[in-house]
Amino acid sequence: MTEHEFVRAMLALAAADALDPTEQRRVDQHARECDLCRKDLETWAAYAQSLRKLPQPAAPAGMVQRTQARILQERTAAENRRTSELMLGALAIFGWGSGWAFWTVARAIIGGSLLTWLLASTVLVWMTAGTAAVMLGRSGQMRRSL
């Protein structure tokens, strides 16, 4: 590749101030001696200048306020989700603790085989969990419909 070809390939980037100092020096030096490259560099410079002065899209009126409102909405939704998750966690711990205490006391009073107690407790736990799931689902539907 000749110096002329190298410089021609660099002219667009030279106009965009995107060359390293060594490349820039080579372009400047060659452009001083070569009419064709100098004129082309001027054309590229005109493009670069026009690109810096493009018509600007105007930001829509009220965009900042709408953005702040949406942030607030997202924050409220995130806080609600967090509260629901915390409540579910607390309920699960409470349910597990109270269930365990109840069955321990009930078995101590009434007696019976371990298998019977396991079956009874599994059925009751599944019924409670099913009811809780239905209730949570309905509450979520109500929130979405509001």
């Binding site: 810096r52 493009l54 899209p57």
Partner: protein, 196 residues
């Protein structure tokens, strides 16, 4: 010197506001949104070429920023970080919308010019500037998204190549080659337009 001082003051203010944002201070986000609204919106309009989508992505950018601000490293350049968030959302949107490569040429976007407002010293100069600018804006609208991106970041945002590399998450050499191809394609489009 005055410009440099103004820029460092702005960087200091932004740094302070980001620190407040981390502490969930309510006024910090409002000030940042206000300060960046024009630049960020302009970048998003150039990327997605639709004002309504650009506003939606603008809002999503700030929501995403608030989610990520806890992990923001104050040594990073805030502008590059903010624009990288916006850029990723815009790229995701373009991928979902088109389902095609982002370096594909696009001839749509002519209506964009109608939405742009001109600026200039006097009426005739303003009109000529507007015509030149409108022609250029139309030509840019037809370029692939990755080329529009480097052009707007370099010439409108006046970002250094290193910052553009940070925003687009690409090597410096790729920024240079994209910028070169974008300028060449733009010139070809403009000169083809003149011949018509």
């Amino acid at each position: 010197m005055i410009l440099a001082a103004a820029m460092s003051l702005e960087a200091f203010t932004t740094h302070r506001e980001v620190a407040l944002l981390k502490k969930r201070h309510p006024d910090a986000i409002a000030e940042l949104i206000g300060r960046y609204q024009h630049r960020l919106y302009r970048f998003l309009v150039r990327m997605v070429q639709d004002p309504a989508t650009a506003e939606d992505l603008f809002q999503q950018t700030w929501i995403r920023l608030l989610e990520k601000v806890g992990s923001y490293d104050a040594r990073r350049n805030f502008d590059a970080w903010l624009f990288a968030i916006a850029r990723n959302l815009a790229i995701d949107h373009l991928r979902r919308r088109r389902g095609v490569s982002l370096d594909e040429e696009d001839d749509s976007g002519l209506a964009m010019v109608d939405r742009l407002s001109a600026g200039g010293p006097d009426a005739l100069e303003q009109l000529l500037d507007f015509e030149r600018g409108a022609m250029l804006a139309t030509a840019i609208a037809g370029l692939p998204a990755i080329h529009r991106e480097v052009l707007t970041l370099r010439f409108e945002e006046d970002m250094k190549l290193e910052q553009i590399a940070e925003v687009a998450a690409i090597p410096l050499s790729t920024v240079k080659s994209r910028l070169h191809r974008a300028l060449e394609s733009l010139r070809v489009r403009i000169e083809m337009g003149k011949d018509l």
